[in-house]
């Protein structure tokens, strides 16, 4: 790497990982790189190792939960095994799949919940308040700030959990199905907010997501994980249009699936019905 090229935000080289008390590796030979401002989507069938990949990429495995890690995981060119939990926590933020796992359980209001991370970074109160409001606006939960976090709907809890991670302003975000409990327009708004964040601040985002329509809209690249190994990877439009996706247990985006159904019935797709990949985004923008 030349001196002028910055290290990628996140880099995994030949990474294998197995949980404590098990002999088999859940991840095997993973090579993955995430540059500043890039969004990489991870898709794959249930139990492919997607959530484990998130834990490893965020450095929580093995730092917090133990296990065997082979290969190298680097944040900003630094081996995560040499970083303290505090240092790691400021470089990379992780959103867990289940938002209830994420919420601290100690906050009385959503405001306090989102402030929990920045306060623990020792930031001045004014900066904490600025970050809470910024994060709340980004995920659209400003009206929930006075509410009790334990009394939110599933989707609201997910937005608050995401806001709590964003308020830490990490350089790398690792998101495990960040929109799984969100309504369709909420999904799109969060997707757009994350894409803007990546473009404007250079935040790098690794995102596990079953909603391939959303990845078609926002991801630069897509990785297909099957049985703990990368089965395919490349530019999002290319990977998501791959006819092999369904056989790998991955649902293609709506328009790809619909085109296949029409082609099978001998009906050609009329261009006036919408553009190719990302037709949902285009339709949504116009309506």
């Amino acid at each position: 790497m030349s001196a002028s090229t910055p290290a990628p935000r996140l880099s995994l080289r030949d990474v294998s990982y197995g949980y404590v008390g098990t002999s088999a590796n859940v991840l095997q030979g993973i090579d993955l790189e995430l540059a500043e401002g890039r969004i990489v989507g991870v898709v794959g069938p249930n139990e492919a190792g997607k959530s484990t990949l998130c834990l490893v990429a965020a450095g929580l495995a093995p730092l917090a939960i133990g296990g065997r890690l082979d290969g190298t995981v680097e944040q900003d060119g630094v081996d995560t095994r040499t970083l303290s939990a505090a240092d790691l926590g400021q470089r990379v933020g992780i959103l867990f799949q289940n938002p209830v796992t994420q919420l601290s359980g100690t906050s009385v209001t959503v405001y306090e919940e989102i402030a929990f991370g920045p306060r623990n970074l020792g930031l001045p109160l004014g900066e904490v308040a600025t970050r809470v409001e910024w994060a709340a606006d980004l995920v659209g939960v400003r009206d929930l700030l006075p509410r009790d976090p334990a009394r939110l709907s599933g989707g609201q809890a997910q937005l608050v959990a995401l806001g709590s991670v964003l308020a830490l302003r990490p350089g790398t975000l690792v998101l495990d199905e960040p929109t799984s409990q969100l309504d369709p327009l909420g999904t799109r708004l969060v997707g757009d907010a994350l894409a803007d964040l990546a473009a404007e601040t250079g935040t790098a985002i690794l995102m596990v997501e079953h909603k391939t329509d959303l990845l078609a809209r926002m991801a630069d690249e897509v990785v297909v994980l099957v049985d703990g190994k990368i089965a395919k990877s490349g530019p999002a439009a290319e990977v998501l249009a791959d006819p092999a996706l369904p056989a790998l247990g991955v649902e293609p985006p709506s328009d790809i699936r619909l085109r296949a159904a029409l082609a099978e019935a001998g009906i050609s797709f009329d261009a006036s019905w919408g553009p190719a990949l990302g037709v949902q985004a285009a339709v949504g923008a116009r309506e």
Partner: protein, 274 residues
């Protein structure tokens, strides 16, 4: 005939003052497949938790088979109405998958031999027979969701409530849930599903109830609810029609909320034109 579930002018206010339901009226006949949709926080989960007595209305009443649920013991309601929670970890507590699934049927007084059959059938339906002796927390989130669903199926309740059953599922998992809904309907069970997945809703349910801010704003078949004239109302509760419904309107063949309906409508037009 009286509907199996009747919601009469129900309002509900949480202890922190949140008004979750306002003047909801709804009738659900036996054996129907009904989806409840709407934006986050619109009251969907609150509504269905009234059906099994987890919540009681602040005002109004819920009738189950003509009986006001206020006078019915929760244990009886549990034998009539099964609820698979949105968050499986609120539901799971046993040390082994098969024990988890057996807990419900055993507690509603099912005979041991029947419990075993029910557990096996439920695990088979969700594809977890190979994990019967696994600790539930050694399963990933998507499989814990399926386990929570199996625990409800095993109770063989006449009414099954599924709160976001496809969340976290891959393509095969979604197909599995779709088959479960259709099999339940085939055996005369009432299925009430909450979902943000409009494709699943359009393909698996015969009626769609749309909520916004604790009220019902649309109620009809998928073709009615996803028709062009409903799009503004859908958008007001953060929903959008499935892609084939939009393409159908654009192609001039009307409301076609599923791929199959769109293909059929376009094929018919092609035949008529030739």
């Amino acid at each position: 005939m009286t509907a199996e579930i009747v919601v009469e002018n129900v309002s509900f206010v949480y202890p922190d003052g949140t008004h979750a339901l306002a003047d909801v009226d709804l009738q659900i006949p036996r054996g129907h497949r009904i989806a409840i949709v709407g934006q986050n926080g619109s009251g969907k989960s609150t509504l269905v938790r009234h059906f099994n007595g987890l919540l009681r209305p602040t005002t109004g009443r819920i009738l189950l088979d003509g009986l006001d649920t206020v006078g019915v013991h929760v244990a009886h309601l549990a034998s009539r109405v099964g609820l698979a929670f949105q968050n499986p970890d609120r539901q799971i507590f046993a040390g082994r998958v098969k024990a988890e699934v057996a807990f419900g049927p055993r507690n509603i007084g099912m005979a041991q031999v029947e419990v075993e059959q029910a557990v096996y059938a439920a695990l088979e339906a969700v594809g977890l027979t190979g994990q019967a002796d696994t600790n539930p927390y050694d399963l990933g989130y998507s499989r814990r969701k399926l386990l929570a669903l199996a625990s409800v199926l095993a109770m063989r309740t006449p009414i099954v409530l599924l709160d976001e059953p496809t969340t976290g599922q891959d393509a095969r998992g979604v197909a599995r849930v779709q088959k479960i809904v259709s099999d339940l309907a085939d055996t005369g069970r009432t299925v009430i599903g909450i979902s943000h997945d409009m494709r699943f809703v359009a393909e698996s349910f015969e009626r769609v109830v749309v909520m916004r801010a604790g009220r019902i704003i649309l109620d009809g078949t998928p073709s009615e609810v996803f028709a062009r004239e409903s799009w503004d109302a859908l958008a007001s509760t953060y929903l959008e029609p499935p892609l084939p419904a939009r393409i159908g309107v654009r192609a001039g063949v009307g409301s076609t909320p599923t791929d199959a309906l769109l293909v059929e409508a376009l094929s018919q037009r092609k035949v008529a034109a030739s």
